[in-house]
């Protein structure tokens, strides 16, 4: 295997691992004489990040290049576009799931329960006057399913317990204003 092939393979792997768009050298050059201010960007590596490599085409001639370059400031920056993409998409999906669950809990579930259990449940729910919030009937409704300790029931009971806790929290924070003003 020749050294050239090894070098090619190495640069290929490097390129795959790091998107070459993710590094750049940014040079800001202020106005000089009659040339207005400019920003130059190129994706070069750190050792090439200086005025001579990045500022192309050079707007001044030979003698003035040094004076021009002294005013410019070059900075090397890198980012990870994959991280940004993954983070934003993950955040949006979690937000979407939470919103769907919220819509289900607040709108769909009371409708479904009303249809499943009929009007008898409605009379019972009138006792909780003023408690129009989600989870108002948490403990009532699913006490119909008797205690067969299979997994579905366990999940239901855990969920009911959680809802009761949230309702308690909501009462003390929103209604009675005793915690968190």
């Amino acid at each position: 295997v020749s050294p050239m092939k090894l070098k090619n393979a190495k640069s290929l792997i490097c390129d795959l691992l790091q998107n070459s768009e993710d590094i750049r050298c940014k040079c800001i050059c202020p106005p000089y004489r009659d040339i207005e201010g400019q920003i130059y960007k190129q994706n070069v590596s750190l050792k090439d990040c200086n005025c001579l490599h990045v500022v192309e085409p050079m707007p001044v001639d030979g003698k003035d290049v040094e004076a021009y370059c002294l005013r410019c400031e070059c900075k090397f920056e890198e980012r990870s576009s994959a991280t940004i993409k993954v983070t934003i998409i993950m955040y949006l999906s979690i937000l979407g799931l939470l919103l769907l669950y919220m819509v289900y809990l607040t709108l769909l579930e009371p409708m479904l329960k009303r249809r499943l259990f009929g009007h008898s449940q409605l009379i019972q729910s009138d006792d909780d006057v003023g408690d129009q919030q989600p989870f108002a009937n948490a403990h009532n409704v699913l006490s119909h399913s008797h205690s067969r300790p299979n997994m579905l029931n366990k999940v239901e009971h855990a969920q009911q317990r959680w809802r009761r806790q949230v309702q308690e929290q909501r009462k003390s924070v929103f209604d009675r204003h005793v915690v968190l003003s």
Binding site: Q38, R79, T83, I84, L99, T106, A158, V179
Partner: protein, 730 residues
């Protein structure tokens, strides 16, 4: 002191079935756990931990496996810190990236890849100009995207409208999620964490749902343009992570005192990721939130803060590989005469802090008592609407507050082209960055000055109404913004005065023409620091007065002798006695059950016999019912007619009797006692320094009563002429 033997064995399933789904079962409270909204007993927790440690150390000599277990136990603290640092850093990075993107989403969208914020979108573009560094064709504002026109009145109105609508949408989603899933996620979180760390129990405050909802809604709340920051909520998020990892190790999950050590370190990690300053995080935790901070917690906090900061850097949300949020370098020294404007800024900070605290408390009180408190969702939407409508026209309030602060801290060189740096440049100037001599201000600077003044007034007013709403909100960044704006205005004023009147006496000594005298960015920093000091006191004004930070001033004004317990009430006035007798003589389980059935005793004193009343020990009110109810699981054969005994050996009974129940383990043989002539200051000192929950009172060697932490707090409230009924949850 011989510690009471409170064995904390895990709950055992009677049939041993379904271990996999055990986490779904309702956890049966163990003997030695605490009720919600009560304080822990620091001494008991400490002695339990010492016991556990001693047991492990003695067992480690037995076999190699036990030795390995003891090493794992010792290292579990560091493992927890590592995990906390990793998760806090990751969450903070996610929050930063998401806030960046969603803030820009209000104004426009990136066409090539929708997940890029404005700056990221134009990262590789070559069409950026010197004057308009962020402009590129890949990122378009909404008006341009929808109608094709970039300029003009119609485009402006359309952009305005969409900005307000996005802001309303974000804040509505935030408050709805908080309301439906985790009401404890609102507010800053630092006062409640301080309360929890001092020994109070608030169940669910550091739970998993609170963690999830706080992270998600924090992004929404900050992106909606409201005048709030994310530093306080990040501390809450970090403490939730701490609580989460505590449950992995029984060393921390079963001991509330050890858990609070971990939470102190987690708070340090939280501040560390908020500002990228690990040492600042440790200092914050040490000074502000922690109650019990031994030396090893210092090292562990530092480790957690470092890991969190490095994790955040690895995610690199700022794109510049810098840890610190506001990174500034000033190269010119400051002069003694500049102390005068610095002191003025300090006075401004104090005045603003007082105004803010009073106004905010008054507004919060109104929220509690009037109709305003009944419509939290509408309140959030209204405040967001007003904020967005007023913030859009002013370019300094339209952008996010962190960006504003960064720009205000920035020193103006020739490389800057923003309006604030529109100075008249000397064309022959050779140094573009450092050490630029003072220059006269151009029209852009004067424009910026009055816009900044308007922004200052706006921010001062709107923050009063924003803080305290039912969404996650922090106070650090808005305070810094107010201070930075004021500081920059003062700095520019001093700079221009120094330039135009350099022959005045004050400036003659220090400011030569052609030299760089005044750095307005430094004034902005000083202003920010001045304004950050005051409202911090606000965030430690706990809504429930539950810790001893305020201290007791001692004597009441009328009496000349210090108040003692003899002159005090011993319990709630006119109510049933707080406790009952239990004797060493055998009683039956059913008698005890009848005793505890109807009344709610705070505690039970166990005496040798009813006649002699010689005191033997004390049983916590909550422990006795729990122990009786759990007894069928622990000891076989215990039934209702079983005999209960508190002595070491079982009483002699005929063999036909059922198995007796030994309750010695819930008996505290060495409770703290004071006499009724102990001065109140000493009693308060004892409670504060030892972290007691209750203390027994004796007179002439006989037990007189019991005084609890809440009683002491009520007494202190009376001393300070506050309403003692505000000490709640009795």
């Amino acid at each position: 002191i011989s510690p009471a033997e409170l064995a904390s064995t895990p709950t055992e399933e009677p049939n041993g079935s379904g271990h996999l789904m055990d986490f779904l079962d309702e956890p049966f409270p163990d003997v030695g756990t605490y009720e919600d909204f009560h304080t822990i007993d620091w001494l008991r927790e400490k002695s339990r931990d010492t016991d556990r440690h001693r047991k492990i150390t003695s067992k480690s000599k037995e076999s190699l496996w036990e030795l390995i277990k003891s090493l794992l136990d010792a290292w579990s603290g560091w493992v927890v810190m590592l995990l906390i640092g990793l998760l806090s850093g990751t969450l903070a990075g996610v929050i930063d990236l998401a806030v960046d993107w969603m803030t820009d989403l209000k104004e426009g969208v990136c066409l090539t890849a929708f997940w890029y914020s404005h700056e990221q979108c134009c990262w590789t573009s070559n069409e950026t100009t010197f004057d308009d560094r962020d402009k590129c064709p890949q990122w378009q504002k909404w008006a341009e995207l929808m109608t094709g026109h970039a300029e003009g009145a119609g485009a402006y109105v359309l952009n305005y409208l969409l900005y307000v609508m996005w802001a309303l949408l974000f804040s509505f989603l935030a408050v709805s999620l908080v309301r439906v899933f985790a009401p404890y996620a609102c507010g800053s979180g630092i006062p409640e964490i301080k309360t929890i760390l001092s020994g109070f129990i608030i169940r669910g405050y550091l739970g998993k749902w609170t963690l999830l909802i706080k992270t998600v809604t924090l992004v929404l709340a900050v992106s909606s343009g409201l005048s709030l920051g994310k530093e306080g909520p990040l501390v809450h998020v970090a403490c939730c992570c701490g609580n989460l990892f505590c449950s992995l190790f029984s060393k921390y999950s079963k001991n509330e005192g050890k858990r609070r050590e971990v939470l102190s370190a987690a708070a340090a990690a939280g501040v560390s990721v908020a500002f990228g300053a690990p040492i600042g995080g440790v200092l914050f935790s040490l000074e502000e939130v922690s109650y019990y901070f031994p030396l090893k917690t210092l090292w562990r906090s530092f480790f957690a803060a470092l890991v969190a900061a490095f994790t955040l850097r690895a995610i690199n949300p700022f794109g510049n590989s810098r840890l610190v949020l506001f990174y500034v370098e000033y190269h010119t020294p400051w002069y003694m005469a500049e102390l005068v404007p610095f002191i003025l800024l300090g006075v401004f900070g104090g005045l603003w802090g007082t105004l803010f605290i009073r106004a905010n408390i008054a507004w919060c009180r109104r929220r509690k008592t009037t109709l305003l408190g009944k419509y939290p969702v509408l309140e959030v939407i209204a405040v967001t609407g007003i904020t967005a409508v007023l913030a859009f026209p002013n370019p300094y309030t339209r952008r996010s507050t962190s960006e504003l602060i960064s720009e205000l801290f920035n020193d103006c060189g020739a490389l800057e082209s923003s309006q604030l740096c529109d100075y008249v440049n000397n064309p022959n100037m050779s140094r573009p960055v450092d050490d630029i001599p003072d220059r006269p201000a151009g029209p852009g600077v004067y424009n910026a000055l009055w816009q900044l003044a308007l922004a200052l007034v706006f921010k001062i007013v709107i923050t009063i109404f924003t803080f305290g709403m039912k969404i996650p909100s922090g106070l650090f960044i808005p305070s810094m913004a107010v201070g930075a704006i004021a500081g920059r205005i003062v700095g520019i004023a001093v700079e221009q005065m120094a330039y135009h009147h350099h022959d005045w006496l004050i400036f003659k000594n220090w400011c030569r023409p052609g030299a760089d005298c005044v750095t307005p960015g430094l004034y902005a920093m000083v202003g920010a620091a001045a304004c950050l000091g005051e409202p911090r006191l606000m965030s430690f004004y706990p809504p429930i007065v539950m810790d001893f930070g305020k201290g007791l001033n001692g004597t009441s004004r009328e009496e000349s002798t210090p108040p003692t317990l003899a002159t005090d009430e011993r319990g709630p006035r006119g109510k049933a006695p707080l406790w009952a007798f239990l004797t060493q003589d055998p009683t039956r389980v059913e008698e005890l059950e009848a005793l505890i059935k109807d009344t709610d005793y705070k505690g039970f004193r166990v005496v040798i016999s009813r006649e002699s009343e010689r005191f033997m020990g004390f049983v916590q009110g909550r422990d006795l019912p729990l122990a009786i109810r759990k007894s069928p699981f622990k000891q076989d054969g215990v039934v209702s007619s079983s005999v209960v005994y508190f002595t070491e050996d079982a009483p002699l009974l005929p063999p036909t009797n059922p198995q007796p129940l030994k309750l010695r383990r819930i008996l505290n043989l060495s409770p703290f006692t004071v006499t009724d002539h102990t001065p109140m200051e000493t009693v308060v000192d004892i409670f504060r320094k030892l972290g007691l929950r209750q203390c027994l009172v004796t007179r002439s060697g006989r037990l007189l009563g019991i005084i609890t932490k809440k009683d002491v707090l009520r007494h202190m409230a009376q001393m300070m002429n506050q309403d003692p009924e505000s000490i709640m949850f009795n």
